[in-house]
């Protein structure tokens, strides 16, 4: 396969450009009426880094991406790419490739023409355009589809063409706006791997917007969890999952059960067991508190006199997720599936904490598990 970086650069100004650019979003504010979609968003992205914006609908992640792309003007704040302030530069001149959620291929153009469109806008010659577009199509595994039209391709193929089209202009930053959300699970997984491997190979700075935590955690170097227009936490996927710094992150990334507890010095007591509180968390929380427990933070022992009993069982392949009702508190517990198979609904068990410390948060409502 041809490496797109072997090809001549697109324009003179890009001749000495590195593969990826550094990006800084400085104190971005964007309001729609009374709603603040971005509330002082500040973020720095290294050259060649893959950052995912993760959050629920309406958290501002897509607005942040659109401001970065130049499709939206911020009310205040700056967008800086490679040290240059692009806040007042329009989208056409920002040199950023974008892949959209909906298949954004131009229906009137063949696959090859779609990929070559950006090169045409950069006034490359016809032969250069065709060669480069064919290379990019090879790169995404669609070299044999170049004469087809978008409506003749599957959703996954269309998104791969859109990716090739975005990469063809050798953008300084690649922006991905939920590009996998309209695809079925199998294609999504394949394309996820392909995007990640291309991004690593081309070392292109990439910003990826998603509401799917599995996508964000599996693809990104860093994940930026957003809520109400600001960043809750930005960290590597492993840190984000294992060491969430806020209750929102703990609940949004992965699954957490809330268990009401009381502080006792720097520890809390859960199911009669003393557990250290995660460093730094106890100082910020006052009043009634909950411990936030991951399913893998808890183990169970079968005990006819146990305080909990199993109310739900969900088979997830290697593991089985149980919901153990302890008093009024539903607690999720992951067990190996061979162990889970021997457990019956209604069976009494004794939960115990196996995590080395726990995250605490201000008391919130007990949730009824919906995924089991």
């Amino acid at each position: 396969m041809t490496d797109v970086r072997d090809s001549p650069p697109v324009g003179d100004s890009r001749a000495a450009a590195p593969a990826g650019a550094t990006v800084s979003l400085e104190n971005l504010v964007r309001s729609y009426g009374k709603v603040r979609a971005l509330d002082g968003l500040t973020l720095s992205i290294d050259a060649g880094e893959f950052v995912a914006f993760l959050g629920p609908s309406g958290c501002g992640k897509t607005t942040a991406l659109r401001v970065l792309a130049g499709f939206e003007q911020p009310d205040s704040g700056r967008v800086i790419v490679d040290g240059k302030d692009l806040s007042n530069v329009n989208a056409q001149k920002r040199d950023m490739g974008m892949v959209f959620q909906s298949y954004s291929l131009f229906p009137n153009m063949s696959v090859l023409d779609n990929v070559a469109f950006g090169l045409k806008m950069r006034r490359q010659s016809g032969s250069q355009r065709r060669t480069k577009a064919a290379e990019l199509l090879e790169l995404v595994g669609l070299g044999d589809q170049s004469v087809k039209y978008p409506h003749q391709l599957s959703g996954g193929q269309q998104q791969r063409v859109a990716l090739a089209r975005a990469l063809a202009i050798e953008p300084r930053v690649l922006l991905l706006d939920e590009p996998l959300s309209a695809l079925d699970a199998k294609v999504r997984a394949e394309l996820r791997d392909q995007i990640r491997s291309l991004q690593q190979r081309l070392a292109i700075t990439t910003v990826f917007v998603t509401h799917d935590q599995e996508e964000a955690l599996s693809m990104a170097d860093r994940v930026c969890v957003m809520s109400s227009g600001h960043i809750e936490q930005i960290a590597s996927p492993a840190t984000l999952y294992a060491r969430p710094t806020t209750a929102f992150v703990a609940q949004f990334v992965g699954i957490s059960s809330r268990v009401p507890v009381q502080m006792d010095g720097s520890e809390v007591v859960i199911f009669g067991q003393r557990c250290p509180v995660r460093t730094g968390d106890s100082a910020a929380v006052t009043g009634p508190i909950d411990a936030l427990l991951r399913p893998e933070d808890v183990a169970i022992d079968v005990d006819p006199d146990g305080t909990g009993f199993i109310t739900h069982k969900s088979f997830f392949g290697a593991t089985t997720r149980l919901v153990v009702q302890v008093g009024e508190i539903p607690v999720r517990v992951d067990v190996r599936s061979d162990v889970g198979a021997d457990l019956a609904l209604g069976e009494h068990v004794r939960p115990r904490i196996i995590a080395r410390d726990v995250l605490i948060a201000a008391r919130g409502p007990l949730e009824i598990p919906s995924d089991e």
């Binding site: 792309a69 040199d95 131009f106 950006g118 039209y149």
Partner: protein, 284 residues
């Protein structure tokens, strides 16, 4: 197992009992009604055309003849009226599209909340009688404008607006306009390039239909042209009717057939382009 009886579908269930399915006669009844409605509608539209064509194909003594059609090109004033209508139609269509395409795109992209209001505003020309428009303007327009036939085009642009806007609105609704525009812009496309290379080709059907409707409207409009004192095709037909009814009917039929042929040509060209594309892409 199923067997088809004369009045109903008889289904043999797995236990051997027979069930009668009454859907088939209902479907047949529906098909009959559909046929009747279609025949009545066709008769309603085709009968006047048939009568007109029959009359146009008769000579003064009532015998079949192409005489009226043969005489038509050399009839006094016909060519002038035809070419005036043609010029006005083309000018109107161009002005109409230049005005309405950017407007419709702007409303869809930037002011989508105004679409209901646009629907209402663009329908106003239908509820205002043409005579009100023309009399008011003729009373106040400067002489240089009144002396030009293109004043009519200004009115025709207004009259065609409801049809053109609706065509474009439907076309724009059918495509993901915002994403296409943003994709083009992010790839470096200017607004003009985006309009010409991305939006317009995907609005081809809407543009064709808007153009066809405008042409048909201009070729059929009588009141304004007559009051403004210009002999367009409809005015010529009305005037010449007093000299020779056969020729005027032939002109009306020729106009109808010409418009129909023009529309067919546009549709055929569009289909042929799609077929060529499909062939290039290697699919039937």
């Amino acid at each position: 197992m199923a067997s088809i009886g004369t009045t109903a579908l008889v289904i043999e269930a797995t236990d051997g009992s027979l069930e009668v399915d009454n859907r088939r006669p209902r479907r047949k009844k529906f098909r009959t009604w559909r046929l009747i409605v279609m025949v009545l509608a066709a008769a309603y539209f085709l009968a006047p055309l048939y009568a007109g064509l029959k009359f146009a194909l008769q000579n003064d003594s009532g015998h079949f003849s192409f005489w009226a059609f043969q005489t038509l090109p050399s009839s006094q004033g016909f060519s002038a009226a035809f070419f005036l209508s043609m010029r006005l139609a083309i000018f109107t269509a161009v002005v109409e599209l230049l005005l309405m395409v950017p407007t419709a795109i702007f409303v869809h992209l930037r002011l989508p909340k105004l679409r209901p209001m646009m629907d209402f505003v663009t329908i106003l020309p239908i509820v205002v009688p043409p005579i009100v428009l023309i009399v008011g303007v003729l009373g106040s327009a400067p002489l240089w404008l009144k002396s030009s036939p293109y004043l009519l085009s200004v009115f025709y642009v207004v009259l065609a607006m409801p049809f053109v806007y609706r065509s474009l609105d439907a076309g724009l609704t059918a495509i993901d306009l915002r994403t296409l525009v943003e994709a083009s812009r992010s790839l470096g496309g200017s607004w003009i390039r985006t309009l010409v290379s991305v939006i317009m080709p995907n609005l081809r059907a809407a543009l064709l239909s808007a153009t066809a409707l405008t042409l048909a409207l201009v070729f059929g409009e009588y009141t304004m042209a007559n009051l403004d004192g210009w002999t367009t095709m409809p005015v010529w037909i009305a005037q010449f009717q007093q000299s020779d009814a056969h020729v005027t009917l032939a002109a009306a039929m020729a106009l109808l057939i010409g418009t129909w042929l023009l529309l067919s040509l546009i549709v055929a060209a569009d289909r042929s382009q799609s077929r060529r594309r499909r062939r290039r892409a290697g699919t039937p």
